[in-house]
């Protein structure tokens, strides 16, 4: 005979879970009571949002399912932002919430919320568990749905009485999904090859789906064979080596000039696992106006969101990309060298950093260039995120982690905890802003308790920088409620958490090359076996460029301050 809580933990172990993130409370106490000796390690964060973002960091860096646990009511509602984030960015996540006892459900009991209803539109699948007998089956289903197809978040809401009651338990369940109509068109290459042959200006756009499928090696072969201009979304960073001559960097609102121009001018857009959201497309009506679109995608719901694609290729990219590769290997492709030279040529090459953002960009360059290979950068949301994405040069597919679709400030610090626990030997660099860091700054305590050697950078411009940038450019410099000039002293705060911290003035980056003192500071910061914080003073009015204004076409980029 086992209690429901023991059964939950046994089933988690059967799914390969050995690490969970959470925060205890009344309705989930039986599960915490059973943790000891279960084989499941629990990481206590200091807020449930920290737990769910840490679980996301774990999942994003490994591809495994992240698990977050919280109690009923406020514990569960504090998970909601992370659940929404996982939905937008296709992160496999299982959230387990305690619920008031079954007899009280619906009575507005203490700490009761309708978590099932609350998360219905944010989850891929969810269940309010109604009997102890169904726990094994429900957990097996939860993990199946979280990791299958387009990965996503799942919520299991378990009434506290079910965690306490005893029942016979034989073994964890296995779930076999019911068959659904297959949409994989194995003959897609018959249509795609003629489209390629007719094209004069083909390009390839790589998104997160390509990385999630595990098809990166095969995709790189395809791109090498095609040798056409290629660019990535923010979640596609690392999918393509920055060294290959046809790589144009990131595309979209803060993408490179070359990538945005190539996307605007193309006549055939090959999309590999990208949602084509509005940050990538600019004005949908003027998105790639001359292009036919071929969309490789696992989730049919992502097709035709901007405009119809000529050829949807629905299926796991791990299957469709090799099929495509085989097809192009057997055909003679047109000579696209003129187009490639135009799109990838020096005329459209990246401008040297200039303007008020130059020192910050140089700071990130200096930092990134000193990172060991296979380091992981976890970026928060805002200007620093875009600068970091623009300067990212690694070809590690899971090396750049950020909240892309939801854009949830406060993501980076707790996510970095999950990443560091998943990859203890890897250097994890958390890049945050002075706004974002304060949204989950309590997780300094988690980092200190665990002694995680996370390197934390705060790009401190004393503003909510990205909002301020928009206010500057589009709201006549009316900096309404974005001034953070009364920020606390982050160095002193970190020291209160017993985390070594120091500040680097912007002037340190005005010399090229940097002085040996600055170089030593950066080296020591990155090589320390302890957690560390480096606060970089950024000019308050530094802006991120290029920038495609909201509602503009990709070709209408602002390139510098005076544009």
């Amino acid at each position: 005979m086992l209690k429901g809580a023991d059964i939950v933990l046994r089933c988690l172990r059967a799914e390969g879970v050995d690490l969970v993130f959470g925060y205890p409370g009344g309705a989930i106490m039986p599960l915490y009571d059973a943790l000891n000796g279960s084989g499941v390690r629990h990481i206590l964060t200091r807020h449930e949002q920290g737990a769910v973002f840490a679980a996301e960091g774990y999942a994003r860096s490994t591809g495994r399912v992240g698990v977050a646990i919280a109690t009923s009511g406020p514990g569960a509602t504090n998970l909601v932002t992370g659940i929404a984030d996982a939905k937008m960015d296709s992160v496999p996540l299982v959230c387990i919430t305690g619920q008031v006892r079954s007899a009280l459900i619906g009575s507005d009991a203490f700490q009761e919320t309708d978590v099932f209803g609350l998360t219905l539109s944010l989850t891929k699948w969810s269940r309010l568990v109604q009997s102890i007998e169904e726990i094994p089956e429900v957990i097996a289903q939860a993990f199946y749905w979280a990791r299958s197809g387009r990965p996503g978040p799942v919520v299991l809401d378990i009434p506290v009485d079910l965690l306490k009651v005893l029942t016979e338990f034989r073994e964890p369940a296995r779930f076999v999904a019911h068959p659904k109509t297959a949409h994989v068109a194995s003959y897609f290459c018959e249509a795609l090859i003629p489209l390629l042959k007719k094209s004069n200006k083909p390009v390839a756009l790589i998104g997160a789906g390509a990385k999630l499928s595990g098809a990166i090696p095969e995709l790189r072969k395809v791109l090498d064979d095609l040798n056409i201009p290629c660019f990535v979304t923010v979640h596609g960073l690392g999918a393509v080596s920055a060294e290959v001559p046809y790589y144009l960097g990131m595309v979209g609102m803060h993408g490179t000039r070359a990538a945005n121009m190539a996307l605007h001018e193309t006549d055939l857009l090959l999309v590999f696992g990208a949602r084509l959201d509005d940050r990538v497309t600019g004005d949908p009506a003027r998105f790639a106006p001359d292009a036919r679109i071929v969309h490789f995608e696992i989730d049919p719901a992502q097709l035709d969101r901007v405009r119809p694609c000529e050829l949807p290729v629905i299926g796991n990219l791990a299957e469709t990309i090799p099929a495509f590769h085989a097809a192009i290997s057997e055909t003679t492709l047109p000579d696209w060298s003129a187009w490639r030279e135009l799109a990838c040529g020096a005329e459209r090459a990246e401008l040297d950093p200039r303007g008020l953002s130059q020192p910050t960009i140089r700071f990130l360059d200096e930092l990134f260039s000193r990172l060991p290979v296979d380091s992981i950068i976890v970026a928060d949301v805002g200007q620093h995120q875009m600068w970091a994405a623009q300067r990212y040069r690694s070809s590690s597919p899971r090396g750049f982690i950020t909240s892309g679709g939801l854009g949830a400030m406060g993501f980076a610090l707790p996510a970095a905890i999950g990443v560091q626990l998943a990859k203890p030997e890897t250097t994890v660099l958390c890049v945050s802003g002075d706004g974002g860091i304060q949204m989950n700054i309590q997780e300094f305590a988690t980092i200190r308790r665990l002694g995680l050697p996370i390197k934390i950078v705060i790009v401190d411009n004393k503003y909510l920088g990205m909002v301020r940038q928009w206010q500057q450019l589009f709201y006549s410099r009316n900096y309404a409620e974005t001034d953070l000039s009364d920020n606390p002293d982050f160095v002193e705060i970190a020291k209160a958490y017993r985390i070594h911290a120091q500040r680097l003035e912007e002037t340190a980056m005005r010399e090229y090359p940097v002085t040996s003192d600055t170089a030593n500071t950066l080296e020591a910061f990155l090589r320390s076996p302890e957690p560390g914080l480096l606060v970089f003073d950024c000019h308050p009015e530094a802006n991120v460029f290029p920038m495609v204004p909201s509602g503009a076409a990709l070709s209408e980029m602002l390139l510098e301050e005076d544009s």
Binding site: F116, G117, S121, S126, L128, H178, P300, A301, D304
Partner: protein, 106 residues
Amino acid sequence: MHVFHIRYRNTQGTLMRILNAASRRGLDMPYVQAEPAEHMHKVTLLLNVNTKQVGQLCRDWHAIVDVMDLHAGAPLKEMMHTHGAWQAPHPPASVNLTEAARSAMA
């Protein structure tokens, strides 16, 4: 007006997920009928949507784990009649009361 017939496994929340795909787009649902259909369930929805929304809805519904298949078509006469009787998106409770019931409540 378009009518959609969606077959689904009647698991927790599946009907709500189906309806949510419409409600998140701010669409009124003048006609909704859910009923058992062989070994599954079927919901019929009448929605005033454009071609782009039809595509979006069908893809959203298809992505729901327990939705098995769906069809779109022209509405039946009786649905339109029902729709015609409800001029407002949220009719008062008395709209469908019989005369006898109204008298009883008077």
